[in-house]
Structure formats: structure tokens, C-alpha cells
Subunit: 233 residues, 2 copies
DNA sequence: GTGACAAATAAGTCTGACTTTTTGTTCCCG
DNA sequence: CGGGAACAAAAAGTCAGACTTATTTGTCAC
């Protein structure tokens, strides 16, 4: 994603970031820049740059005379795409997927409603294409092709909402969907009902029916929650 | 907030960050590290650390032989609290407030519903306290005191939801609420209906009535949208 | 015990030299 | 005239070492 490890400090981050987000260093742990520089065999300047980035993610705090201390999880910038990726790659992947799925369930219906009002003709066309692609690959174990269109579908919805905060969740949603296909239980073809819902959402957006787009999308996200046993009794 | 300007590089960021997010340097603009270092009268090491942070926020991209280029707005990490603060302090403050308010309208009702299921006894008590504080300061131009309780109220809801992604939006919501009181039109006492809604949400959460908590919170956020003329006809 | 003072420590800063990658130009040959 | 290869320049990247500064901790006197 983006450009991983495009410098020495990037390489260091690819090691340290996952380690910290995986809880390998408990909150309050103290690291020393010089020691880390030695460990990763880089100069202090490079190590300092890496620490600065971790600091900007609120993963660590650097203080004079004490060192680089790991902050408690509750202070991390959990919306940072890099942090999300690190956590999804690590041990608390299931927990992270649940959190993100709940977030989806809150955001996507509203985004769909807005998309019904704001989507351009091109975006409507894209959406319909995606839905068609999903239908076309919904049977016969073509999970990978299905996933591509599913990710594209949700991304278009989020972008078409016209809200930049929603739009920037496209990568996150894509990551969640991909995770479900690649790592979770997803051996069979997708649920036909879900496929139909996507087609209907595309319809509703095209027709500018905000309420219906929202309601249908809510059904989709409820399905996603149920898959992870996050119920709403 | 947090610890602004806790180093030389922090001071540089406090200058450059707002400038970039304000669109002072259009996307594609090229900056050179050495020139910037001169301009801010810091060493190249310090300047490099600042650039690294901006890079981790996806505000800029640093490439050899070309320089530090400003990325298009659509790629920025708009959930980074620092970026949010910079943008709220700058020219597109109104636009940013609208985006965030829409995000609130999606997230908070769901968070309230979850809070009704997951809130601890302490959190219920806190919530009730906040609601009482709001009522107590709802008349007589005690806007500042009202704001404090209002911010606390929404923060408790988000934390009590048990979802870490929601919890981390506490600062953002607080910033939006503070912005409304301090910079937008808010001369009179708060809307009595809104105050009542908060009290009722606290009730619903206490009683574990998720559906009601969600519905009532949705009414609160609809009110917030209407204040900014974001209608739902 | 309390206060001030001193020492130790780790981050912070600066400088200068060197390396590496990328880009743009030039020049030669087809 | 066009295209490709070699070359030169530019800017970021890296490293090493010396120095500064803030903060903590320990000690000693009162």
C-alpha cells in the first residue's frame, strides 16, 4: 500500500510499528534511541526520524532524560492508515476487524444516503458497473473477482457521498472486505441476498432515493456485523 | 491540546502544517529541505524530522532529486488530530466543521446505542452528572460552563460505546462543539429541546434501551446538522 | 524530613562530509 | 530527424562526532 519502506527509516518503522501495535512493548516501556539505532544498524539521525513518525502517531512519547516511552493503546491514532495496517497484520487482527466493521455500520448507511443526493452521473455508472461485476462473479468460486468489485462498490459510495471524511475511509473498508475474503471464513460463494442488496443500493442511488439507499445499506452492514457475531438483539 | 511545539521541529510544524493545510502551497508545489531549514533557521536534521512527520500525514511526499512535493488534499490523513486542528484553525474551518458534523451524525447515534448496552455503572453516573451540569447551565449565558458538560457528555458516550474507533473521536467532537460556541453564532442560551434530549439520552443509556438512545441521539445530531444548514428534506 | 545543590543521563541540536537516486541534457549513431 | 545511451547536476538520504540542554535522581547539609 502506498510506498512501504521507501527509506532506511521506513524499514525501521516496518519493524518497530508492528511490534509496538502488537503490544510487544507494554505501555510505559522505555526505549532508548541509541540502543534502537544500534539494534537496527542505522545512524541516530535515521532512528530519530523514525521515532518522530511514531510520535506523530501517538504511539510513543519522547522525553529528555527518560527516553522513548510507549503510550497506552487508548491514545494511539487508530485512524492512521499505517497503524490500521500494522494492527491488521498483527495479533489483534480479529479485534481490529470488529472495531472497523462497527465503524462501517455507522458510516456507510449515512454515506449511501448522501451519495443518493450527490452522486454524479459518472459515479452512478461506476456504481452500476460494480454491482454488475458483483453479480457476474457471485457464483462459481470467483471470490477474488467478486472482492474487487465489492471493494470498488463501497469506495464509490464513500467518495460519492461528497464528504471527505467518509471518502478517506475507502481504504479502510477495502481492507476489511479483503480481510474477510482472505483470512476469515469465506469458502463459499457470497450470500445471494447481499448481492441483491448491492444491486438495489445502486438503483436507489441512481434514482436519488436517499432514504432507501440508507436503509438498504444498513441491511448490508447488519449482515457484516452478523458475520462477526456482533448481534443487535 | 497534547503538547504543542515541544521541540524545534514542533515549532516548524506549527508553521508549516497550517500553511500547507490552508492550501498556501497548492498540490504539486515543490519545497526544498535546505531552503526550508534556512527559512525557519533550523538545522537540516530538524527540518528533516519535520518533513518526515508531514510525510506520515500524507501531506507531502519526499523524493530524491525532486524535493518535497505537496500532495493533493484528497490524500491527506484527515483523521489525524493534528491535521484536524490545523484545518480548524485555518481558512476552510467552515468546510471542516461541516464534514465533521456529518461524521458525528453518522457515528454518535450508533455509539449511543452501543453505550446503552455496554456502559458501566460509573459511566452511567458520569453521563447523568454531565446532563445535570448541562441543565444547570442552560440558562443565563453560562455558555462556557454548558460547553464543558456538553463535551464531557459526548465523550462519555463515545468511550462507553466500547468501540475504540468511536472513543478516539472524542477529541474531534469536543473540538466541533467548542468551535460552535466560540466561533459560530451562539450568542443565546442553548436550545431547551436539545438539553432535554441529552437528559433523555442519559436516561435511555442508564436503562439499557439501545434503540431509544440511538433514536434520541439521532435527533441531537439532526439538530446539529440543521444549525449548519445541512438539511435532509 | 526537607530543601537546595550537584552529577549523571538521554534526548536535542548542529555541522560537514559523503552517498545514492533520479532527472534532464547532450551527443552520437541509425 | 529521431531515439537511445552516456553523462552531469541536483536534491534527498545517510553517517559520524561534538556539543547543548533539560530532567531526574541522589546526596548532603540544615
Amino acid at each position: 500500500m502506498t510506498t512501504p519502506g521507501r527509506g532506511l527509516h521506513g524499514h525501521v518503522l516496518d519493524s518497530l510499528g508492528p511490534a509496538i501495535t502488537a503490544g510487544e512493548y507494554p505501555p510505559g516501556s522505555v526505549l532508548r534511541t541509541d540502543e534502537l539505532a544500534q539494534r537496527f544498524d542505522v545512524s541516530r539521525s535515521v532512528m530519530r526520524e523514525a521515532v518522530r513518525v511514531l510520535e506523530s502517531m501517538h504511539l510513543v512519547e519522547s522525553r529528555r532524560r527518560v527516553g522513548v516511552t510507549v503510550r497506552p493503546k487508548s491514545e494511539w491514532n487508530v485512524y492512521d492508515p499505517q497503524v490500521i495496517r500494522w494492527r491488521l497484520a498483527g495479533a489483534d487482527r480479529p479485534h481490529q476487524l470488529r472495531s472497523l466493521t462497527v465503524l462501517r455500520s455507522a458510516v456507510e448507511p449515512v454515506a449511501a444516503g448522501l451519495a443518493a443526493r450527490n452522486a454524479s452521473a459518472e459515479q452512478c455508472a461506476e456504481l452500476t458497473e460494480c454491482a454488475i461485476g458483483m453479480v457476474a462473479n457471485s457464483r462459481g468460486h470467483k471470490l477474488e473477482e467478486y472482492l474487487v468489485h465489492d471493494m470498488a462498490f463501497h469506495r464509490v459510495i464513500l467518495v460519492a457521498s461528497g464528504n471527505e471524511m467518509f471518502a478517506r475511509l475507502g481504504d479502510v473498508v477495502a481492507e476489511v472486505l479483503a480481510g474477510r475474503t482472505h483470512h476469515e471464513v469465506m469458502f463459499e460463494d457470497p450470500d445471494p441476498a447481499a448481492v441483491t442488496l448491492h444491486v438495489q443500493v445502486a438503483e436507489a442511488v441512481r434514482e436519488g432515493d436517499a432514504a432507501r439507499a440508507e436503509k438498504l445499506t444498513r441491511e448490508i452492514t447488519v449482515g457484516a456485523l452478523q458475520e462477526l457475531d456482533i448481534l443487535a438483539p
